[in-house]
Symmetry: C2
Subunit: 298 residues, 2 copies
DNA sequence: GTGAAAGCGCTAACAC
DNA sequence: GTGTTAGCGCTTTCAC
């Protein structure tokens, strides 16, 4: 033991992994790291798995299929113990990976449970329903929606459905001109709001499916002297820091990205111990009321 | 080869690494991943090293010494090929690591070159000098500084020095009450601005050492009906997306965090091939003029 | 208890 | 060229 200290001996984890068939590393595959959802998520994963000796292998795909495939293979070659992935474009390869690799896998923020893959997500349709309901309760009826791309199941389709559901339930019709599809960027929010303001009968409120687009929408109003919330109410989704930093501070649907990470980390850890399987975890959400919603007296 | 396909054979990179003494992974150690500087930096690293077959091992330290030490050791145990680190608190251990581990290392956004460690950074004092100089040229003389914590060499001390240097050179005195030290948070910017507005002779402009604090400062002004830039000019530093998303859009010193990553990736790659050593790379910066600076006629 | 040996899956070096 | 073997640094097994 004295010799160990004197020579500065460091055990070789590679050799150990070779015999133990366990690398103590978990792979995290995401499209982008500079993102208000993915980066706290990664932190959440790190926080829980590091307590059990695991470290992270980061796979940034930039949303490219080729990189997704490359990293999926790398996960196998490097004998990764488990993987959590999010924001995947092409589900087919993931399913194949899940079946053939034998590596425990959990998916975050995406619907995969139909394929027997454990996942953690929020209830997007319920959350969008809640946001819309809130606008309705404040007396708004001419409510528009700036949605995320509808090919995106969670942020796009599900939130779109939740919006429609609330409107339908309240018995208020929604005009086609009030339904606009953005592309996630602040700029698309800006342009969508420009369109909305050009409609003959302008809406009194808009639900924007992501905060980044909502800030763009807000900026259009600010830049054109349209009072918020006096002339137009606004509620976003995600409650990223930006929502509270902007003025007027924006109403939003709060979710906790770090919680997605910690929950998926826990799920994966359980999978690695062969405990349970095929679970689906739903993270709670809540409305955050700030300055961008006006109460209308009908 | 047919058999290979039929059996779905995957080579075992662990075994390969054991004999090759090369893991093709590079370690990235940062305090926080949800950060407008670190996350694009990581992306920059990934983009260049992935082209050469390397992947990333992510070490998130949360600024804790214990985690820094743990990961430094893990880097050795896991036979990481190279490491890039940023935002390190305790330099002593890094130096020791650099000398004893034999693992190529590059440091980003921090001054380490005195210790023979390759680094990439901007010229913080020059950048702060330029920002201050710009304010001076616009006719301002009562200029305040909201600095980052002065224990931080790059964002704190260096930018502080650059500010003073420009003021001294212009021959304009700076009052003690105009020098406030923030803590990086938007809220500290908010409170610092409150202090500044309470001074008998209010400044006409303030240079804020980071955009996040600058947004806090801006919000104080907005919340208290103080016109920006009519009554108070503002320039931030970093040019994070937030700076352009806020209204009025903020002037800032632009740096390209991704470039820090790609440059450090290139440097590390060179080190791994035994090309050069002990280099120091300086990333250029530039002023971004938006809506928060007023021109004064003296 | 302490010590020697086998083997994890690969690559390199050596034969044939 | 094709085939065999040694050995990377560790853990586990088996003998003593």
């Amino acid at each position: 033991m004295q010799i160990v200290k004197e020579t500065g001996y460091q055990p070789n984890a590679i050799a150990r992994s070779l015999v133990n068939k366990q690398t103590l590393v978990i792979g995290v595959m995401i499209p982008d790291i500079g993102n208000d959802f993915f980066s706290p998520m990664v932190r959440g994963i790190e926080q829980v798995v590091s307590q059990f000796g695991y470290s992270l292998f980061l796979a940034i795909t930039e949303g490219k299929l080729e990189k997704e495939l490359k990293y999926l293979q790398l996960f196998q070659e490097k004998q990764i113990d488990g993987v959590v992935l999010s924001g995947v474009q092409y589900q087919e390869h993931i399913r194949k990976f899940a079946k053939e690799s034998g590596i425990p896998l959990v998916v975050v923020g995406q619907e995969f449970s139909a394929h027997q893959i454990p996942s953690v997500d929020i209830d997007n349709v319920k959350a969008a329903y809640d946001a819309t309901r809130f606008l309705l309760e404040k007396g708004h009826e001419r409510i528009a929606l700036i949605s995320a791309p509808l090919i995106d199941r969670s942020a796009g389709r599900d939130r779109y459905e939740g919006f429609l559901q609330a409107m339908r339930e309240a018995g208020v019709a929604v005009r086609d001109a009030y339904l606009i599809e953005g592309d996630f960027s602040p700029n698309s929010g800006y342009e969508s709001m420009r369109q909305l303001c050009g409609v003959e009968v302008r809406p009194t409120a808009v639900f924007v499916a992501t905060d980044r687009m909502a800030v763009g929408a807000l900026n259009y109003l600010l830049d054109h002297g349209i009072g918020v919330p006096e002339e137009m109410s606004l509620i976003g989704f995600d409650d990223i820091e930006l929502a509270s930093l902007v003025r007027p501070a924006m109403c939003s649907v709060h979710i906790e990205p770090m919680q997605f990470g910690s929950e998926s980390g826990k799920l994966l850890l359980a999978l690695l111990k062969d405990e349970m399987t095929n679970t689906r975890i739903t993270i709670p959400h809540r409305l955050i009321i700030r300055q961008t919603i006006k109460t209308l007296n009908k």
